[in-house]
Amino acid sequence: MDMVFLAQEAAEVAQSNLGNGLVFGLATLGPGIGLGILIGKAIESMARQPEAAGMVRTTMFIGIGVVEVLALLGFVLAFII
């Protein structure tokens, strides 16, 4: 009986952990693509116009801050759920 109970318990724990992992994993997909595009475009424009590199870099960091928070919300939610 004890073994059955333990197995059930383990299955429940594993399921909830899988859910947490999925929340974070899915939450990183969109921001990951977004960050790739954002930084790639920023590097492209810096290479094309090196004299505007400072401005592009600052704007890039603002964009990173805005995109990154979506993934971090997923990280926080994974613990809350």
Binding site: G54, M55, T58, F61, I62, I64, G65, V66, E68, V69, L72, L73, F75, V76, F79
Partner: protein, 268 residues
């Protein structure tokens, strides 16, 4: 759990369920119980770390600028570089009016950097910014500043109009867009500021703890020894990465505060 974890590490005990409750990494037991009318003001390790980091930053800048010279010494020029860095952010983003906000932004940058640096300081290894109260209060300060600047510039109703109606909006979608803009500018912005710093620090602290616990557990003559060696090799990389994150988060918080202040100042 954390005290038991430390004991387990010391005596090579078992780690079953050592990281079951991740909250225990961040919730320190009170050292000195204290409270006013149900408000818990106990002194715990996090608060001691905040005091220590603040005092360290204060003493560093005081030592640098107590006898400021025209030809700066080593320490003074290093601290001047920090202030110059923040000043450039303010001038780039806000423009000539930004000089007024340099003290605030410098305080944010230095405070957050000092707090975050406690994450990888040997002997402390706990960032106070991994508690929501600290980052929430910082974000609240930024919110109060940019909202009051906006109200001072445009007047109360003018500021409400400024944050909720983007220029050139078609009349048809105005009711929906105004609500979205209002919520995103006044409620989501400070929330995102707080969550960004908090979640980065929590993730970094968990990463550091897991790396170091792995080294402690597996670096021992037993079948898992390669894992221990791998973790030992990776740990400098983890620390370097965390140092990068620490600087980046302090920079992004300062930068976004400057952006929000600038958006309150300009009118369209």
């Amino acid at each position: 759990m954390t005290p038991f974890l430390a004991v387990d590490v010391q005596y090579g005990g078992n780690f079953d369920g050592a990281l079951d409750d991740i909250n225990a990494l961040f919730q320190m037991p009170p050292i000195f119980e204290f409270g006013i009318g149900g408000l818990d003001l106990s002194i715990n390790r996090t608060i001691l770390i905040i005091w220590l980091a603040t005092a360290a930053a204060f003493l560093l800048f005081r030592a640098a600028f107590s006898d400021a010279r025209i030809v700066p010494g080593k320490l003074q020029s290093a601290c001047e570089m920090v202030i110059d860095f923040v000043r450039n952010i303010a001038l780039d983003i806000i423009g000539p009016k930004g000089v007024k906000f340099v003290p605030l932004l410098t305080t944010f940058f230095v405070f957050i950097f000092a707090m975050n640096l406690m994450k990888i300081t040997p002997g402390i290894m706990l960032p106070p910014t991994s508690r929501m109260a600290v980052t929430g209060f910082l974000a609240l300060t930024a919110w109060v500043v940019y909202v009051s600047v906006g109200i001072k510039t445009h007047g109360f109703l003018g500021y409400i109009k400024e944050v909720s109606i983007p220029p050139g909006t078609p009349k048809a979608i105005l009711p929906i867009l105004a609500v979205i803009e209002f919520v995103s500018n006044l409620i989501l912005r400070p929330f995102a500021l707080a969550i960004r710093l908090f979640a980065n620090m929590v993730a970094g602290h968990i990463l550091v703890v897991i790396t170091l616990v792995t080294v402690h557990v597996f670096l021992y003559p037993r079948p898992g020894l390669p894992v221990g060696i791998l973790a030992l090799g990776i740990s400098p990389l983890v620390f370097g990465f965390e140092l990068f994150i620490i600087g980046l988060q302090a920079y992004i918080f300062t930068l976004l505060t400057a952006v929000y202040i600038s958006s309150s100042l300009e009118s369209h």
